[in-house]
């Protein structure tokens, strides 16, 4: 053992583990770095797996970012695939490994140990779940298995409408399969607030994917050639293949053998340098929990970006000690594409803020993804959440057909910088007609939020929360094409002349197409003494 060139053992050779190994090698040519991986592959593109099944990534080899051989060559790693870590002795600084093929066991010594075993798909102990037609997706072998089974399948059930479930539904539908998506929540992508997930649901329905909400899987029954899924409601569905994507659980069993402190859901607890309760043992990626820098709580985020950067952090700490840049926590930025619609989130949702009792204010705005007079723009719907005490941004969600990733990235960066709604007003984003707008949807969200704070905009989140007197200020042609139930149509251009038609003794709720004109109209009404409110997001978001 040498303190400047420690022997480093890494368990798990994909995102976090591979990043840790690479970063450690940059620090030291002399360190013995042992990478232990249960599967046959290392550093594969796990986020790309659904797209190989759907054929968008045609060549399977493209998913192998590195191979055991390339890691040996490029990083001089001691790569041991098909090898499982079965126990850790932190006092002796050893781990026991077992070869999956020969069952040979070995005691491996380390100076520093990095755990990056990931998380495995949840498979609840249901009757029939071991049927070979019930599949989960984690690695290249799962990918091959699903790809083969899907090619012969006609009807496929996807159980779970989270990120993986949605990607699988999209990709399998691309292959022409008949897909039914089952989600126990009343919406897909439960990370989002319900209204923000609606366009994803519409995209699925438009492509013929059947949706079943508020029902879960209870059991599977095999019949001669098909499998029958029995739902909690008693409903039965026949299929040729079932994809189970109801979540993941951390692979922390080995960590338990070392007596490492685990969190409430089994994740390994780490400090800002990814050190576990044993300082010479680090944990990175899906297996660990981390800080939430927004509300100073703890979160577990099973995503590739954090895993990679946590691996880098652990390696830095091994060589630099506490001078290493600490991991600042995860805010949970995530995105999914479902056919032509994309949706994503960064930071906290309204749902989660409510659960923890955090006060918040929210606004939802629509604007064009780039200058609306330039061809090809699409509507971006952006929901912003902030702390009314200090204006700090707590989270955002975006949905639409273009420019969703960009807006999420801007808000994610704003959250990292502790920016407020006032800062969004004046963000100076890149503008030329093919790319953006002089007033980007981000600025407009800032305008709306600060208008709410300053009392210029009195918002109503949904039609359901509006009172009886609803005024639709869209042009009559638009309003009559898709009318707002119970609303009276007074186009904005006529509003000042038709004030007498509005009852000043009752609150007025104004709606338009995109949620901006209704604000303009509500300002006119408020300035004339009405108790006026604008319905957020307009008919585009509400109907």
């Amino acid at each position: 053992m040498s303190s400047s060139h420690p022997t480093i053992v890494i368990i798990g050779g994909v995102a976090g583990g591979a990043s840790a190994a690479a970063r450690a090698r940059r620090h030291s040519e002399q360190s013995h770095i042992i990478l232990i991986e249960r599967g046959p592959d290392v550093s594969f593109a796990n986020c790309g797996l659904p797209y190989h099944i759907g054929g968008e990534i045609a060549d399977r080899a493209d998913l192998a970012v590195q191979t055991p051989d390339s890691l040996r060559q490029l990083l001089n790693l001691d790569v041991r695939t098909l090898t499982e870590a079965i126990s850790i002795d932190p006092r002796a600084r050893t781990i026991r490994t077992r070869r999956l093929d020969t069952q040979a066991e070995e005691l491996v010594s380390y100076d520093k140990l990095i755990l990056s075993p990931g998380a495995k798909p949840l498979t609840p102990p249901l009757l029939g779940i071991d049927d070979s037609r019930v599949m989960t997706l984690r690695n290249l072998q799962d990918t091959d298995r699903i790809k083969k089974a899907a090619s012969a399948a006609k009807d496929i059930l996807v159980i779970g409408g989270g990120f993986i479930g949605l990607e699988m539904a999209e990709q399998l539908a691309h292959l022409g399969k008949s897909i039914t998506l089952i989600e126990r929540n009343p919406q897909v992508l439960p990370q989002l607030d319900p209204a923000m997930a609606r366009p994803l649901q519409q995209a699925l329905l438009d492509r013929g994917v059947s949706l079943i909400f508020q029902d879960g899987i209870a059991a599977f029954e095999a019949n001669e050639s098909r499998i029958t899924a029995v739902l909690s409601s008693g409903r039965k569905l026949d299929a040729d293949l079932v994809i189970l994507s109801i979540g993941v659980q951390p692979e922390s069993a080995v960590a338990q053998t070392a007596g490492l402190t685990l969190g409430p859901r089994g994740h390994i607890v780490v400090n800002a340098w990814q050190q576990t309760s044993e300082p010479d043992i680090y944990a990175v990626g899906d297996v660990c929990e981390t800080a939430d820098p927004i509300l100073n709580t703890r979160v577990a985020i099973a995503l590739g970006g954090p895993a990679n950067r946590q691996g880098r952090t652990a390696a830095d700490h091994i060589f630099l000690g506490d001078k290493a840049l600490p991991y600042p926590g995860s805010i949970g930025t995530a995105i999914v594409r479902v056919f032509d619609v994309s949706a994503g989130i960064t930071g906290w949702s309204e749902k989660r803020l409510r659960q923890v009792g955090q006060t918040y204010q929210t606004v939802t705005v629509n604007a064009a993804s780039h200058a609306s007079y330039y061809p090809g723009s699409e509507t971006v719907t952006l929901k912003l959440l902030w702390n009314p005490q200090n204006g700090r941004i707590l989270g955002a969600q975006a949905v639409g057909k273009d420019g969703i990733d960009k807006r999420l990235d801007v808000i994610a960066t704003a959250i990292r910088g502790n920016l407020t709604i006032d800062d969004l007003v004046h963000l100076e984003l890149a503008y030329a007609p093919p790319f953006g707008s002089a007033k980007d949807v981000i600025n407009i969200a800032g305008f709306a939020a600060s208008n709410i704070r300053d009392g210029l905009l009195s918002p109503v989140a949904s039609l359901e929360e509006a009172g009886a007197q609803i005024i639709d200020v869209r042009p009559t042609a638009t309003a009559s094409k898709r009318p707002v139930p119970g609303a009276k149509n007074i186009p904005l251009a006529q509003l000042r002349q038709r004030l007498a038609e509005i009852d000043p003794s009752q609150p007025v709720f104004v709606i338009c197409q995109m949620g901006r004109t209704s604000y303009f109209a509500a300002r006119i009404l408020a300035n004339h003494g009405f108790n006026a409110h604008s319905i957020l997001g307009g008919a585009h978001h509400q109907l």
Copy 2:
């Protein structure tokens, strides 16, 4: 006059003026708001004009965001087009206007005056510049004129390779015209550092646009059917049409009649609420200068985004006083598309930092616009500049075929949040294979910058700055296809075995394709005691 419902006169009805009028109306229904505009149009899409000339925006009506009539209807404005402001008397709070058609003059009183006259294209007093075939682009009438002239033209000269010049060259080339672009700097888009503009130049050359650098326009000579441009070098070029786009100058002549304080280049000086030296007179948009929040200097940014938001700020200040949110200054985020290549900047360039003597550090990195294993990714080249004293970001430039606007927006937001290179390391951006990478180019720029700061990466900005011993660590097949002059090829995978071929008494300069592998190789060499440096941006950026 009423203090809560002041009479507001706005000079200039496009971006800043129209925004100010709209925002003022939200504050007050009772205020008399007079919008004075010299042209026949208000609130048109001036950034869209080149795209109508090129036919991408087919319908001219799409460029009219608002019309005088719609502003009267929607905002109850007193719109006076074809009317020029000819003088201001700040003591009497009056302006004198003149109708362009009838020459009728009128004295108009105001409580608050907002100047938004914009900037006009520079037209130096050159021989022949008044030839009707020499055109500038500012408004819809110019657009019509150029569109008509272009339809009959074969050869077109575009003089000036800034944003407008590049957009015009692209759009006119779309129309099948033969284009020559003349720029007195040795590069297009002089706002960028030279190497970052190179891909734009290649895109122009690839589409047959001729480029003439380091030459300016000296005179124009008319001959029977064509016009001859005489360049400073004496070179003569015949053309059917000349587009002059060499910059703009603020229209501050009327402001001078009011005795308002002007900056060194004629821009109106304003405070954070856009107040001029006369507190009841505001100035917004291209006519004024503003704060540069990065180095605390003053800048004049002639762009639509700042103009719109400054107009809003002025209106807020009229109604809210100093409680209004101040304008935080402009960092100069800008982007241009030239055929399939986009490039842009936010904050300070290396060139400008050098001019003012600001110490800085810089790195240029390449990475895929989204996961490279997912189809359609393109290389993003990102140049980052930061203050080595505190790590704060001073600016960035990006160029490539995909995802350029997104990266500029993230860095622009990071600058607004005073983020450092360490913060970029851990920005948590939206990642799914169609949208990004687990390690985005932004993170990679942060990695590289912090590696430089921490001594892990010793960069060399260009091949010219490298010493004699250059090692090309690309695979031999790649290296031999487009060799690096003077370099010895030792592929990374063989480097550890071939160290004896490198002279340890001389510095080693490592180059690869994208600038990452060379860093890996330089780490190996440095860890073996070599004085090793990595050439930034790799062959992709350097060759």
